[in-house]
């Protein structure tokens, strides 16, 4: 599956996702500037992304823990997600995300 990722400067490129991996892991390993301080434990909000409309609705709903952690994120928008909580899967092929400001 493919992830269409846009960095904080607005540059977009495709990265290859892996089923079962989190989008955070894929972006981090692909060299995107994503702190992911807690390492994917849904405990820090430093992997915050905006999910492009159309894709946002396809995702599983946010857990309570993610809703709570998003309160600690900056510049939260209705389409905000923590990328450590999005799991790559075939039905998300082509998902477009933008890394939120630090």
């Amino acid at each position: 599956m493919k992830i269409v990722a846009t960095d904080r400067k607005g540059a977009t490129r495709d990265v290859e996702g892996r089923d079962g991996w989190s989008v955070m892991e894929i972006l981090r390993d692909a060299g995107f500037d994503i702190a992911a301080e807690c390492g994917g434990a849904c405990a820090c909000a430093t992997c915050h992304v905006y999910v492009t409309d159309g894709w946002f609705e396809k995702l599983a709903a946010r857990s309570d823990a993610e809703i709570d952690m998003l309160d600690m994120a900056l510049a939260v928008e209705p389409n905000s997600r923590l990328s450590c909580q999005i799991t790559c899967a075939p039905e998300l092929d082509g998902i477009a995300v933008t890394i939120a400001p630090e």
């Binding site: 434990a41 405990a43 820090c44 809703i67 309160d71 600690m72 994120a73 510049a75 939260v76 209705p78």
Partner: protein, 342 residues
């Protein structure tokens, strides 16, 4: 206001690896002082995931961040390390006698032959909202903490955030402020329920205002704020008058002054050898998440191993004329005496 202390080893960072370093150094009779920017030991364990379970600590099938920090504190208790908390290591200089002087931003000077950087990803600092030009207001009309409530008397305050800090300070500053508004991006909070209830009660009685919105822009001059632009989730924007803005979005990790210590950094990590975990600057060691070497894994257990080898090497620097006797805690009565169990 500066105060100078002398010790064997100065440790930057009181996270799990800094704490375990105290243990390994202590077995070799080396005394340590630790510096941490947080107000309690534990580092990421207690700041980021106190209640999350950790499953890969050898011998502890499941332990939470807070429990591991507590157990480490118990384990190092016999060695009487000194903690300098709520302060940041801000400068490092080499003295004429070959020792190092580590300075904190609270005016403590630690003089030691060995410095151990166990700083993880760096210092926990308040998150700065991504609002253009906010730096110009910081310290004057934008604050990330409340140190003295009196400083906020009579102010028209805007607080942003939805956690305990935002709620607690909304409640505490309400009687002091001329006017106080809390903004949060949703009508829900990750804070203690009684704080949320109290805030809603204050809002119902007109003592504070609560707006579901985000701060988009700041307006003012010479560092003095006089208004902000707020935006609601449905993108409506309006101006809100205020002279003080206190954002509470928790903490994030920045490398901070360590970057200017003259150490050999690779992408904000300190390169070390894998025999001693010493940096390319003799006498300066780096252990835990802050270091890098071929094969490095950012795991707590790797940091524990690094601490043990570092301590052996540190001994030879601190006590150059003594022979290091390698012993086991199971069999050595002198180690057991140090641990207070013999």
């Amino acid at each position: 206001m500066s105060r100078t202390v002398e010790t064997d080893v100065a440790i930057i960072g009181a996270g799990p690896i800094g704490l375990f370093a105290v243990f390994e150094l202590g077995l070799l009779d080396l005394k340590a002082h630790l510096i941490d920017i947080l107000d309690r030991p534990g580092g990421q364990l207690t700041e980021l995931y106190p209640e999350k379970p950790i499953y890969d600590i050898p011998g502890l099938p499941i332990v939470t961040g807070q429990e591991l920090a507590d157990r480490l504190m118990e384990q190092i208790k016999p060695f009487g390390a000194t903690f300098h908390l709520s302060q940041m290591a801000s400068g490092l200089t080499k003295l004429a006698d070959g020792r190092w002087k580590l300075i904190t931003d609270a005016g403590i000077e630690i003089v030691a032959p060995v410095v151990v950087v166990a700083a993880g990803g760096g210092s926990f600092v308040p998150k700065r909202p991504p609002i253009a030009g906010i730096e110009a207001y910081e310290g004057k009309s934008v604050h990330y903490a409340v140190r003295k409530m009196e400083a906020f008397r009579g102010k028209n305050i805007l607080i942003a955030g939805g956690g305990d800090s935002a709620l607690d300070w909304t409640i505490n500053l309400a009687p002091v402020a001329a006017k106080l508004t809390l903004v949060h991006h949703r009508d829900g909070f990750r804070a203690a329920q009684h704080s949320v209830n109290k805030m809603r009660e204050l809002a119902a009685h007109g003592k504070i205002n609560f707006e579901i919105a985000s701060v988009k822009a700041l307006h003012g001059e010479n560092g003095q704020l006089n208004a902000v632009t707020l935006a609601s989730p449905d993108k409506k924007e309006w101006e809100h008058l205020c002279d003080t803005f206190i954002p509470f979005f928790g903490l994030t990790i920045k490398l901070g002054p360590i970057a200017d210590f003259g150490l050999n950094l690779t992408e904000n990590l300190i390169a070390v050898d894998t025999a001693k975990f010493e940096s390319t600057t003799p006498g300066i060691f780096a252990i835990g998440d802050i270091n890098t070497y071929p094969g490095k894994l950012k795991l707590i257990l790797s940091g524990f191993h690094e601490a043990a080898l570092m301590a052996q090497a540190a001994f030879h620097i601190v006590r150059p004329n003594e022979k290091l006797r390698f012993q086991y805690t199971t069999s050595s009565s002198s180690l057991q005496k140090k641990l207070g169990v013999a």
